[in-house]
């Protein structure tokens, strides 16, 4: 079964006080460490950002980039706003990393362009995603 991480809920567990924003390195570190405890190395995971307000570059790096770099094989992001994408895209691209995200039911890469096709292939091989007639790929596992 694919781990499904509700980021907003993890944020509430990780910091004292009610915050909806993912900002600052210490907050990002605390959230990532909580997520890492639930993940086996080399896994495929889904992270849902629904309910998260502001995501700054530091948290994008501390959570998303570090999970991709050190922990997961494929990371699929859901519930992203345009502002979330704007924080995550340059952070991943600068590090040569990529994640997948769902937009209108279709999977696409976010971050560096080179690793994305391999991530999509990985999901198809694991039968977690399937190709649509037009060539696009949809997530089928959840």
């Amino acid at each position: 079964m694919i781990p499904h991480i509700m980021v907003q809920a993890v944020l509430q567990q990780s910091v004292s006080g009610f915050y909806t924003d993912l900002v600052t390195r210490p907050t990002g570190r605390a959230v990532r460490e909580n997520i890492e405890r639930e993940l086996a190395p080399g896994t495929v995971a889904v992270m849902d950002f629904t309910g998260v307000g502001c995501l700054d570059y530091s948290c994008a790096d501390e959570i998303v980039a570090k999970l991709v770099r050190d922990k997961v094989k494929v990371l699929l992001l859901r519930g992203l706003t345009e502002a979330h994408r704007e924080a995550i895209q340059p952070v991943l691209a600068g590090a040569g990393l990529a994640v997948l995200c769902e937009r209108d039911g279709v999977l696409e890469g976010l971050g560096a362009s080179e690793p994305a096709p391999a991530l999509l292939d990985e999901l198809v091989e694991r039968r977690l995603a399937a190709r649509n007639p037009g060539g696009s790929i949809r997530f089928t596992a959840a």
Partner: protein
């Protein structure tokens, strides 16, 4: 002995060097009297810079003195901007200071607010999203989605204090008509601390690379232009790069003063110098972000 440090009548980033020059003449052990009695106006940059000077002066000797502005309108504005709430802890304040609470509904989007830890940054980001959204979209003509980018830029600016200064600092955000320079509305973020500054922070990892060129100007260049950080972690240095991207998109300006240098990313509407070196020494770092009303955005400029 008490040394007088005059606060410029128009106190903003342009007159800050004049203030820093007076501050730099002080020697250890001297008590400083910051004289703002003739002040007519201060930008958020001036207010947070004055607090940084007060903190640095207190570290060097006796608790500094501050003469509040004599003009009732000016002193009232400083109070509404949250300045005296913070100044009371740093200075022995002289003059009539109104007991006004910091503004909750005005062009003061964020009163002078201390930043010491990550929790403070959370509070600042949360407050600014509630208060800045309307002004950014309706008055500055920014896409409503830009509010989040604004909060990100603010967060990263404040984090420089938490991560690098080695001490606390202050942030203030204000909207106003910038008639003199731009004849447009602007939103200004000012962040200041009296900490170690960029050169000291980056020295262990960057000084060797720059060799004889190493100094405050080189450190600012390394941080803002090259995106380097004191941390060897590969993901570091994202904050200032993100701020640059955001400001480039909205034709904004960023300027950072640290030690004896000042660096700026200068938009086409401004004539500031990209890099100044050999300025009067001033402790810590002072960051200025300006986002102007968009020319084609249909903002409702108030006069």
């Amino acid at each position: 002995m008490t040394r007088l440090v005059e606060v410029p009548t128009q106190f903003d980033d342009r007159s800050f060097d004049q203030f820093a020059a007076a501050y730099a003449q002080a020697t250890d052990g001297e008590r400083l009297l910051f004289d703002a009695h003739a002040a007519e106006w201060a930008s958020p940059y001036g207010l947070v810079g004055l607090l940084a000077a007060g903190e640095a002066a207190a570290r060097r000797g006796e608790r500094p003195l501050l003469t509040a502005p004599a003009n009732p309108d000016v002193v009232s504005y400083w109070a509404r901007a949250g300045f005296f709430r913070e100044a009371g802890d740093l200075f022995e304040v002289h003059g009539k200071v109104p007991r006004t609470k910091p503004a909750v509904e005005s062009d003061v989007l964020l009163p002078v607010t201390p930043v010491r830890a990550a929790e403070d940054v959370h509070a600042v980001v949360s407050t600014i999203q509630q208060r800045a959204s309307a002004i950014l979209s309706s008055e500055l003509g920014l896409d409503p989605k830009a509010t989040m980018g604004f909060a990100m830029a603010l967060s990263e600016s404040c984090q420089n204090i938490v991560e690098h200064a080695g001490t606390g600092g202050w942030v203030a955000v204000q909207a106003y008509n910038w008639r003199r320079k731009l004849a447009r509305r602007v939103v200004v973020i000012a962040v200041a601390d009296a900490g170690v500054g960029f050169r000291h922070s980056l020295e262990p990892t960057q000084a060797k690379r720059f060799g004889e060129r190493w100094g405050d100007a080189a450190a600012l260049e390394a941080a803002l232009i090259q995106g380097t950080s004191r941390f060897r972690d590969p993901g570091r240095g994202q904050g200032l790069a993100g701020i640059r991207r955001y400001l480039a998109r909205w034709e904004g300006k960023v300027a950072i003063r640290s030690g004896t240098a000042r660096i700026a990313i200068v938009p086409r509407w401004d004539d500031d110098l990209p890099l100044k070196d050999g300025l009067p020494a001033f402790p810590g770092s002072q960051v200025l972000l300006i986002i102007p009303e968009q020319e084609s955005g249909g903002g409702s400029s108030k006069q």
